[in-house]
């Protein structure tokens, strides 16, 4: 019988299958490695739904028990990571509804959340001027900002703060897309959004985070 060497791109990788074999043998180091790799993403995903860190931590612990219970039935049709995150997502959704801290997920329609223009209107030339609609006050290039400042804990914390204060649906989408690196399709599926709504939410979220980062980087006087 001819089996393909590897599954579809979205399925379990060879590394996943090896890890799975170790887990099924009871290899504790393999399990600890899995936990360390997934804890942050799981916590952020749970936060997307329940919006409260203590509750999110409970959801994650509870989800791990579910992961273990279902591990023998994992068939490798998706990656181990995507499969485990789906378990967290489902539990977090159930918990959010129960807690009534956030509206049920189906109400993450999207565009009814405040959006506003991506950039303050006064940064463009007004109607009637020759170059109306073009930059009056263009953004400043950040190529003079050293890489280690851009990726410093301080800058990353600034971006995290900007994400945290977004309306819930925008925060959910940018967290899954840009922080966790999920695809648009995965994000739509997890949040129950249409592709169009997902994109509108992503756009609003990124625009606001850019403004926050601009204020931070340009307001703290880098290179004059």
């Amino acid at each position: 019988m001819n089996m393909p060497a590897a599954g579809p791109a979205s399925g379990a990788s060879v590394a996943d299958l090896e890890l799975l074999a170790r887990l099924r043998r009871g290899d504790e180091a393999a399990f600890a490695e899995l936990v360390r790799g997934l804890y942050g993403p799981m916590l952020r995903l749970a936060m997307v739904h329940v919006g409260n860190r203590a509750v999110a931590e409970e959801v994650v612990q509870d989800a791990w028990v579910g992961v273990l219970r279902q591990l023998d039935r994992f068939e490798g049709r998706s990656s181990l990571r995507a499969w485990a995150l789906r378990i967290v997502g489902n539990r977090a959704k159930t918990r959010a509804v129960r807690e009534r801290r956030t509206a049920p997920f189906s109400s993450f329609g999207g565009p009814e959340e405040p959006g506003g223009p991506a950039v303050e209107p006064e940064r463009f030339l007004a109607a009637g001027e020759r170059w109306a609609g073009h930059w009056a006050s263009p953004p400043r290039p950040w190529d003079d900002v050293p890489e280690d400042r851009l990726l410093s804990l301080e800058t990353r914390a600034e971006v995290e703060r900007a994400v945290e204060v977004l309306p819930p649906a925008q925060r959910a989408v940018i967290t899954l897309r840009d922080v966790e690196g999920m695809t648009a399709a995965e994000t739509c599926q997890l949040l129950g959004l249409t592709e169009g709504n997902q994109r509108v939410l992503l756009h609003r979220a990124r625009s606001k985070v850019r403004r926050a980062l601009e204020e931070y980087l340009d307001g703290t006087g880098v290179a004059g």
Binding site: E28, R44, V119, G133, H134, P139, L202, R206
Partner: protein, 83 residues
């Protein structure tokens, strides 16, 4: 005298469709208009680059250490699961 950009996007439009552009969601004609604007507009080139920086920085969240008691509890659950 015709404005060379009369038929084109202006910067205010660009910042509103930039996500569609990055997501590959623009129709071919719109994509060409976007590219034409971008080639001639330094401000929008910088804007696009800033958004790419936002995506890059957002993708590097602070490392999340697993609280030791959580890890200990999960390892216990793992041992129980094996039985």
């Amino acid at each position: 005298m015709t404005d060379p950009m009369a038929d084109d996007l202006d910067c205010r439009d660009v910042v509103e469709v930039v996500t569609d552009y990055l997501e590959g969601g623009l129709a071919p004609d719109d994509r060409r208009r976007f590219d034409r604007h971008l080639a001639a507009c330094e401000g929008c080139q910088v804007y696009l680059e800033q958004l790419r920086t936002v995506i890059r920085v957002a993708g590097r969240p602070a490392v999340d250490a697993v609280p030791p008691e959580t890890m200990a509890g999960l390892l216990r659950a793992f041992r129980d699961w094996r039985r």
